[in-house]
């Protein structure tokens, strides 16, 4: 465990930056809500943001190696389960369990 005061300060710094990013844009951007362009963007933003976050999570995929198969297979399981049952909890648990089994027992580093 690093120095306790440092570990707490690190959390507080992260919290301050995160809250600032969440709260301040409302003051700056709220007047733009009526704009057609902003409405166009805000309708399409949620889906695009989530797709980008998925790619971000998989950014360190060790592609030429067989180990990359663990997250890719788990991703396919997650998508398959979700298209089939549309149950968020089932899809997340199914994908995660698949990944833990593959990463721990099959494609060990």
């Amino acid at each position: 465990m690093p120095d306790t005061r440092y570990a707490i300060a690190a959390v507080l710094v992260a919290a301050a930056v995160t809250w600032g990013l969440r709260a301040l844009p409302f003051a700056a951007l709220t007047p733009l809500r009526a704009s057609r362009t902003v409405q166009y963007l805000s309708a399409r933003m949620p889906a695009g943001v989530m797709v980008i976050l998925v790619v971000y999570c998989l950014r360190d995929l060790p592609l030429p190696h067989a180990r990359a198969l663990a997250p890719l297979i788990a991703l396919a399981v997650t998508i398959g389960l979700h298209l089939w049952r549309r149950n968020a909890l089932l899809s997340i648990l199914g994908g995660t369990v698949t990944h833990v089994i593959l990463a721990s027992a099959v494609f060990t580093p």
Binding site: Y6, A15, A23, R44, G48, Y56, C57, T96, V100, S104
Partner: protein, 249 residues
């Protein structure tokens, strides 16, 4: 059994009713948050377990979950804190990873949250999942208490499971890895639900995917901000192009 919040998108919106009592708002919020929110539990457990496996105390996981409350960045924060990175580097990383929240203010329904305290908490607890749930089609009729309850429940699931994961983490055998995939799985589920809300507008997720892959290849260290900027630019260009061809918004 279907508990996904996306399923509610199929139902007709409830008729405009008088503002519900707080208790029913809480109950409705519990149902709203059950799908994506319960997805927090494996991720929070993974986060807590990872924190203690990395040598941090259990209360640190709880503090981070309650105060910083930004799932994906908190996973990075574990690595930064165990490496005793300078606070300025932590601030910069937090900014880079969380700058996406700037875009959330365009569509998060803060104008429907009442009271200064309510608005303050709503921005504080504006995590990815809160954004995904409150901007979905089903959320258009949500009252202020219902939005706040959804956010509070997500916050509680996250902090509670982080502490539980930190306390139980020592029980996980050393060879077991890969719990962090829970985060990927959750974003995948949220992406599928959000794409479904677009009703066949497949160019939007395709542009997002291309933006993310381009950012991964060109600016791997700044993947998130670069991808969001590219995606926004691509959407704007598409909006201008379609607007010129036909003025049907």
């Amino acid at each position: 059994m279907h508990i996904s919040p996306a399923v509610t998108g199929d139902r007709p919106l409830p008729a405009p009713a008088p503002p519900p009592a707080p208790a029913s708002a809480a109950r409705a919020a519990f149902r709203d948050s059950a799908g994506a929110g319960l997805g927090f539990i494996p991720i929070g457990l993974a986060f807590g377990a990872l924190a203690t496996q990395s040598g941090l105390d259990w209360w640190w996981a709880g503090l981070s979950a309650a105060v910083a409350f930004g799932g994906s960045f908190e996973f990075l924060l574990i690595g930064l804190v165990t490496a005793t990175a300078p606070l300025a580097a932590i601030a910069l990383s937090a900014f880079m990873v969380n700058v996406r929240h700037v875009f959330y203010s365009l569509s998060f329904p803060l104008h429907r949250v009442s009271g200064r305290l309510g608005k303050t908490y709503a921005t504080f607890a504006l995590c990815d999942e809160a954004y995904a749930l409150t901007t979905g089609k089903a959320a258009r009729s949500w009252s202020s208490p219902r939005i706040l309850w959804v956010q509070l429940l997500l916050h509680l699931y996250w902090a509670g499971s982080a502490v539980a994961g930190a306390l139980l983490g020592s029980l996980i055998p050393d060879g077991v890895t890969g719990l962090d995939f829970a985060l990927t799985a959750m974003f995948t589920v949220l992406a599928l639900d959000a794409v479904r809300d677009l009703r066949g507008d497949l160019p939007t997720p395709a542009l997002a995917l291309l933006s993310a892959l381009a950012a991964r290849l060109l600016l791997p260290d700044q993947l998130l901000p670069a991808a969001f900027a590219l995606f926004t630019a691509a959407l704007l260009a598409r909006h201008l192009a379609t607007g010129r061809r036909a003025t049907r918004a």
